[in-house]
């Protein structure tokens, strides 16, 4: 016995995360999810067709031969047949959170139905995001990616891990100053002090990209991997940062991979792979994420409400405090 389609659709309102593979446009990811859902929803049990009262002729053997009478009977309306009406579900509102460009991969938040309102709330809460960015020294290109047109080639023998980390510390220091100016808080107040102690000081309005934390995960020349915690960024901004780190190191660098490992409360672990973009998995993911998104209050959330769902991954939260100290 198949499930009742409108009932299943009712359970789909909410947010969930998918893992976007590199080389695919975010729009095609969204469209794939939508078509998969539509196909499965339409295959489920639909509403029964309306009944229509018709007076059908019926012959009965009467005393004087055949008598024709009309018998009221309920017949299903053929206009409600699926071949006449078309499939019951033709489109689903699937909204997207912060986007990822074609080359980048990672956690990509999608909202279905009423979840789109939560997406807006998520935008207004100005969550931080984690990225794993991989760079390669010795080359500079026009669009900062590996595949772009090469501008220059350099040596990188002189670069050590210490030199790289020194640059990273400088970057974090300058961003810390920008963070305070864009937070629009009086630094002398108790409120600002409390937030700063908890490591939750961050701008709650639109601002230029801000790096909250950056550290080197791996350094094996010419390749290096950075973990970046930031807000209001674009993927191209992170690539440009790799390029500038290369220049600061008296060399040049290109970005080979941008991978988002966390978007607000959504982590890699709870994101769905391409093979899991089906009704059952999405339903499960939405149910799980509902618990996390309950903290996001409706309307324009104040600071406290928005802080609620952040600390999902322990690593991110700790990393933030550690880097700030």
């Amino acid at each position: 016995m198949a499930q009742f389609a409108p009932g299943v659709f009712r359970t789909l309102h909410g947010l969930f995360a998918v893992y976007k593979p590199p080389g695919v446009h975010w729009k095609s990811v969204r469209d794939t999810v939508e078509t998969n859902l539509l196909k499965e929803l339409n295959a489920l049990k639909q509403r029964p067709p309306r009944q229509q009262i018709r007076f059908l002729p019926a012959g009965t053997e009467g005393s004087n031969g055949l008598e024709v009478t009309r018998v009221p009977s309920a017949v299903p309306v053929l206009a409600d047949h699926v071949l006449v009406k078309g499939p019951a579900f033709t489109h689903i509102r699937v909204g997207t959170g912060h986007r990822l460009d074609i080359q980048s991969s990672g956690v990509f938040v999608l909202g279905i139905g009423h979840g789109n309102k939560l997406l807006k709330d998520m935008y207004n809460s100005h969550f931080t995001r984690d990225y794993t960015v991989r760079g390669m020294l010795g080359k500079a290109t026009e669009d900062f990616t590996e595949l772009g047109k090469t501008i220059e080639k350099t040596t990188y023998d002189h670069i050590t891990r210490e030199k790289l980390e020194r640059i990273l510390a400088v970057i974090q220091g300058t961003n810390q100053k920008a963070l305070i100016t864009h937070s629009h808080l009086d630094l002398q107040s108790q409120e600002a002090y409390d937030l700063a102690v908890q490591g939750k000081l961050r701008p709650m309005v639109k601002s230029p990209p801000i790096i909250l934390g950056i550290r080197c995960l791996e350094f094996s020349p010419p390749e290096f991997t950075l973990e970046i915690q930031c807000m209001h960024e674009t993927q191209q901004y992170l690539r440009k940062m790799i390029h500038e780190i290369g220049l600061e190191l008296r060399s040049s660098a290109v970005c080979t991979q941008v991978r988002r490992s966390r978007d607000g409360p959504f982590t890699v672990d709870c994101s769905l792979l391409r093979t899991q973009w089906d009704l059952g998995s999405i339903q499960g993911a939405i149910r799980e994420c509902r618990a996390q998104t309950e903290g996001v209050s409706r309307g324009n959330p104040d600071r406290e409400a928005a802080e609620g769902p952040i600390p999902g991954p322990s690593r991110g939260a700790e990393g933030e405090g550690e880097l700030r100290a």
């Binding site: 008598e67 206009a79 071949l83 006449v84 991978r259």
Partner: protein, 418 residues
């Protein structure tokens, strides 16, 4: 007005019919300008005039016909609903102007009028049996955007739906809905269904076939028969013809010359024998009905940009006919990845042309996973060789266990680091 018409009619019995037609039309135009009450007068006049003509019995039949046409012309304006309810065709409702040329039933109504039989008065008492025989169906709209409004009333549409024809898709195509409404199942549809059954289509395929190609109902049955016998003449077996017609519904709408041209095209361009061309067409019948330009283009791409030899292209096309209709850009992307990044030479690709049939993204992920495990060996002479066939056409679980020798969880975890 009555007198004028009578006088004209007397004179017209001597005139020839065409002249009369002109005259009456002119009369009609002038009448159209007058008020509605006057129009009623004219109708009464015409009725009496007809009685007069019948009485004298000197007019030719043609002039009667012309008169009748004139009469119906008038009545379509005035008593449109009366006329329609007598005919059970919803198509007429959509197109009132059609009634002008409509056939013989009008004549019966006319003769009834002449006999002076009054229509049933609403106050007259009728017996139970008569009452039961009056079908009181819901009125149907004169115009609509969808076929939904007509399905419950029209026998033809009802039968088509039960056959499995997707009306919701058909009504979106231009002119198809009007075309379907004018059909009569017994007269127009059933013989085509019998014909398709003769060709060898299954019952379950008929609905899908008509959903794709409703225009076969407007073809001449003899022509269709000729096309099928042409295909049989070209030594396609009966099963093959059935398969081709089911897979490429528009096949039978193509004239014999066109079909011949197209078969010739594939044989010539690919340089295949007749036997192999036949196999190719049976495997992918939509080659015949699709556009030929992309096919030609893809062949050029294979030859010039991908650098395959003529006989290699032949081999690939026979194994994977889809390559001929594939997207040019996707073809080149796949080849670029397989040849330049995975480092597989041409002769191996020719051996496993399935690579052109799989999604590039899937192949990329699997190749990277094997590379990560150090198992990406595509050279048949080396140990731990992974054939391209296994890389591309096995499901995920089997690939993980048999080819990569890892668990599915590991594979998924790896995919999340890409």
């Amino acid at each position: 007005m009555f007198l004028v018409v009578c006088r004209i009619s007397r004179r017209c019995s001597l005139l020839n019919a065409s002249n009369y037609a002109h005259f009456s039309r002119g009369l009609w135009h002038s009448a159209a300008l007058t008020q509605r009450s006057q129009r009623k007068n004219e109708m009464v006049a015409l009725r009496r005039l007809l009685g007069h003509i019948y009485g004298t019995e000197r007019t030719t039949w043609s002039s009667v016909m012309l008169l009748r046409r004139h009469f119906t012309h008038l009545s379509t304006e005035g008593d449109a609903t009366v006329m329609f309810s007598e005919q059970n065709l919803p198509s007429i409702k959509l197109y009132p102007q059609e009634t002008k040329v409509l056939p013989g039933t009008d004549f019966n109504t006319l003769s009834e009028d002449l006999e002076g039989a009054p229509p049933l008065s609403p106050l007259e008492e009728i017996t139970e049996n008569e009452a039961a025989q009056i079908a009181a169906d819901l009125p149907i709209p004169p115009a609509s955007f969808t076929l939904q409004d007509y399905v419950d009333q029209s026998e033809t549409l009802k039968k088509l739906v039960l056959l499995g024809v997707d009306l919701s898709k058909l009504e979106k195509r231009p002119n198809v809905a009007n075309f379907l409404l004018r059909l009569d199942f017994e007269r127009d549809v059933s013989r085509f269904l019998l014909f398709l059954k003769d060709v060898g289509l299954e019952d379950s395929q008929l609905g899908a076939f008509l959903s794709k190609n409703p225009f076969i109902l407007s073809e001449d049955l003899e022509n269709l028969q000729k096309r099928v016998s042409y295909l049989r003449l070209k030594e396609f077996s009966k099963e093959a013809v059935a398969r081709m017609v089911a897979k490429a519904p528009y096949l039978l709408n193509f004239s014999i010359e066109r079909l011949d041209n197209r078969l010739g095209f594939f044989q010539r361009e690919l340089g295949l024998s007749t036997e192999k061309t036949r196999d190719l067409i049976i495997r992918l019948p939509r080659l015949l009905t699709g556009s030929l330009e992309p096919v030609r283009e893809n062949l050029k791409v294979c030859e010039i940009e991908l650098g395959f030899k003529k006989n290699e292209i032949q081999h690939i096309a026979i194994k994977v006919p889809k390559i001929l209709t594939a997207n040019k850009k996707k073809l080149m992307e796949t080849f670029d990845y397989v040849h330049n990044i995975m480092g597989i030479p041409h002769h191996l690709i020719v051996k496993f042309p399935q690579v052109f049939n799989t999604k590039l993204l899937k192949m990329k992920e699997r190749h990277l996973f094997l590379g990560f495990l150090g198992r990406a060996v595509y050279d048949p002479t080396k140990p731990n060789y992974v054939s391209l066939d296994k890389l591309t056409s096995t499901p995920n679980e089997i690939f993980c266990v048999e080819v990569a020798k890892a668990s599915v969880q590991d594979y998924e975890r790896f995919l999340k680091t890409l």
